[in-house]
């Protein structure tokens, strides 16, 4: 492990300034991802700027009915927050389905969004990985890729984004508040993560050194009727092999509004706009939900070991939406 220095900034401006001045520094939040990767030699910062004492740990209910979640709010605290449980059950569910109790007590909102892929080749410095070392090749493309992407991958990288929280936030049209050397800025969550394309080493649209300060959820009364369905290889403590975040708003039988996002299928949380389009304004039925999923997955290109993700994602789309619809009717 590379020797590193540790710094506790006094405020947001200082944190951002330090990162701007130190090319090999990194923010440290809960450390549950970064420290592991440092031990593995995958990330090698020489300075850790600990953001957990910055005043970014509040959950505020906004006057318009939305919610602002500080970047250092712990995943377990966020999942337990009454406003989250009441107004955005999809978010609480996604958080509670992730990792373990101990990890959620440490993991933060900002750190969760910026966690790195769980691609096993990325985590092993003895193997080729364009994301870790651009130009070395992608061992997963023709290797063991059961857990990896079916949508929007490139020949240079087929990794998925592992976060459950990000999938829920994608469905909720969250906005990420960031601080750059020039000052604060808003980034829609949907625009935070990138496709791998030619540059898998660039995972987000943020410039290096940008600090996430909060995540804002717009008011969305329909989200009271929302849920997250995660499928994994054991009952707890495993990353998703498929997941869906769904908000369904029915007017009688007709879909007035719907928000749908998928996890474990792409390099970023996958907002299923095409499926939503298919559903909106039509009378809900499981068949319609299946058609919507098919529309969304039409361009999917499964890899050698992950073809099952397509029927799986389709199945949980239909099942989750149907259950939400039944819940709304009863």
């Amino acid at each position: 492990m590379r020797p590193f220095r540790y710094h506790r900034p006094a405020d947001v401006a200082e944190a951002v300034a330090v990162l701007a001045a130190e090319p090999e520094a990194a923010y440290l939040a809960g450390g549950t991802n970064l420290v592991d990767l440092m031990k593995l030699g995958v990330q090698r910062p020489d300075l850790l700027v600990d953001v957990t004492r910055l005043p970014l740990d509040a959950v505020e209910e906004l006057p318009d009915g939305g919610l602002r979640i500080g970047a250092t709010v712990r995943n377990s605290d966020l999942a337990a927050h009454p406003a989250v449980r009441r107004d955005y059950p999809v978010l609480a569910r996604a958080l509670l389905d992730a990792a373990s109790g101990q990890l959620r007590n440490l993991a933060t909102t900002g750190g969760n969004l910026l966690q790195r892929t769980r691609c096993v080749y990325f985590q092993d410095t003895g193997k080729a990985c364009n994301k870790r070392e651009p130009g070395t090749g992608c061992a997963a493309r023709h290797g063991q890729n059961r857990d990896l992407a079916v949508l929007d991958w490139s020949d240079l990288c087929v990794a998925t984004h592992p976060s459950d929280l990000a999938v829920a936030l994608a469905a909720l049209d969250a906005v990420v508040e960031v601080h750059e050397p020039d000052g604060p800025r808003d980034v829609p969550l949907a625009a935070l993560h990138r496709s791998p394309g030619e540059h898998p080493e660039r995972e987000t649209t943020l410039e290096r050194g940008t600090l996430i300060t909060a995540v804002r959820l717009p008011a969305l009364p329909a989200a009271r009727h929302s849920t997250y369905r995660k499928v994994r290889d054991r009952a707890s403590f495993a990353f998703a092999v498929g997941s869906v975040a769904a908000v369904l708003d029915l007017d009688g039988d007709v879909v007035r509004d719907v928000r749908l996002a998928y996890g474990a299928v792409a390099h970023r949380p996958w907002r299923a706009y095409r499926a939503e389009e298919e559903l909106r304004g039509r009378p809900f039925s499981p068949e319609l939900a299946a058609r919507a999923a098919d529309a969304e997955l039409a361009e999917a290109r499964p890899l050698r070991h992950n073809g099952f993700k397509l029927p799986l994602t389709r199945a949980i789309t239909v099942r989750t939406l149907t259950e939400l619809a039944e819940g709304a009717r009863s």
Binding site: D124, R146, A235, A315
Partner: protein, 699 residues
Amino acid sequence: MSTGAVGRAHPRLEGREKVTGTARYAVEYPVDGVTYGWAVPAAVVRGRITRVDAAPALALPGVLAVLHHGNAPRLAPGPDRGLWLLQEPAVHYRGQFVAVVVATSLEAAREAARLVRIDYDAGPHSTVLAADHPGLYRPDQVNPSYPTDTAEGDFDAGYAAAPVRMDATYRTPAYHNSPMEPHATTAQWRDGRLLVHDSNQGAAPVQATLAELFELPREAVRVVAEHVGGGFGSKGYAKAAVVLAALAARQVDRPVRLALTRQQLFGPIGYRTPTIQRVRLAADADGRLTAICHDSITQTSTIREFAEQVAVYTRSMYAAPHRRTTHRLVRLDVPTPFWMRAPGECPGAYALESAMDELATAVGIDPVELRIRNDAAVDPDLGQPFSSRNLVACLREGAERFGWADRDPTPRARRDGRWLVGTGVAGSSYPARARAAAASATARSDGGFLVRIDATDIGTGARTALWQVAADALGVPPERVEIRIGDSDLPPAGVAGGSMGTASWSWAVIGACEALRVKLRQVPGGAPADGEVTAEVSTADEVRDQPERPRYAYGAQFAEVRVDVDTGEVRVNRMLGVFAAGRVVNPTTARSQLIGGMTMGISMALHEEGVLDERYGDWVNHDLATYHITGCADVERIEAHWIDEQDGDLNPAGVKGIGEIGIVGTAAAITSAVCHATGVRVRDLPVRLDKLIALSPLA
């Protein structure tokens, strides 16, 4: 006089120390001037090291040495070439330890390990087991010393003539032991003597191996393993960590601590070989077996032969006039497979017990009844009566407790909302053996007793069980007895393995306690007025002279699973096992062994899979985030029961061993339950949703 400590539930003697963190494990002993070793794995699968450049590593502050084949102290070649570490430039598998860095801090050692530059000449490699691998051969014997193949009657003719037949091939992947405490050692040389605090399942064999490698008299090596955080077989023998630590400590002339990382446990410490098993069964219309054949294909390394005895289970489990078993092996460029909880029986029973379930369906007989009908009166392999055989009792009691009676065998007949529900059963057996051991018992003038034996408690509760046995043998309340284990300075005893620990050790402990009582009869007042009186015995002669005969523990596992019809997710509603394992010394720790074994069987059935990347020649999911093992949430209800079994032909304590029997049939019970729930028989483990998603009406 018996005080009745045996048979009573008692928490582990060291439980408080463990949960409060004061129990010391191998790398936790305070040692002055200690340094830290970090093992460097080979980055190629097969080849030769052409150059080692240690300079950048040595330039780091705190780095004391980089050991490699070019400069490491010489070892005598022992029986296991895999332990002849840092002696030659040859690389036999990816991950083989080819260098060790020693530094004054763990962090410096780790960073320096990254900086050691090693160049290789790499050749082509073969790392994937296949039924048609050109390298398949017939080993001379299988682990530990069973005949490779057996045949009785005429299988081919018997099979061809039978009205009911089943023929299926089952596959299991590589499984990794990955105990909670990694293989870890603190090594110190003092005046030519070697002291290691080491995590192992038996101090004496480690002592013997180190003495051989370093060309020392045994007495010059002391191995201490007071607390051990699991091993599941992988610590049954000296492994790389202890050899590397001892080499490094000799080189830098300072104490060295070396613990393998989690990733380094996936290969170099051994693992359960992948298996390809073809089972053919034939029966008459009443389900009586007429022909049984079990052909096993497994792998070993190019370094050393390890032939897992996969089909041996089938030799003694069920009776039939025509029987055949075979083992074929292939040498691959992989680490040497090794013992993992119930080596042989565990994968073998998965195949045979699954096949019995398939036969039950084919012949239309309940799977419990089918097994009862095919119970063996005498050992089909040896032709001798069993010391005791209570498989049928386990099946009957299990069926009763589980509520098996009204089971509708039709697949997909039971539903609970979106869940398909099914049940399954399997039989289990595991040999009840014992090894020679020595123990001593000492009476003190204060009325206390000290019992000493080099047994190892790998977390099972062995220490507590022996303490209970000793108290009864001495005829005193257990509070007056102190027990000391886990040190090669103590009277020698064999490894904690093969479910032989308690049987072997209690034999010696009882012998020593009885010998002490005889001695004390000569002492006025029956207790030493001052000083001590000690008796030491060895069971070598008794164990050697015990007549050969089939001795086995038995069990029956029952499982109820549910499968999400839309996604194929499998969950285990409940698991119940009934076992016949002789006398149960301590119900608390016995239950935890049995449910632990069954939990590991759930893990095998549903979760575990070493995923090998052929190009790199190693397992890519080499940590516990990606190599899934069953978690608490996967075990909803689990019960272990045992029948009261008195078997006077075992050993003085009448115990059969319980460490392994729990896992043996479990995976078959679960996969059969999945088949009952869904109608889909998965024959390559693990059963994961990928293999069931085709069922989904929504997919």
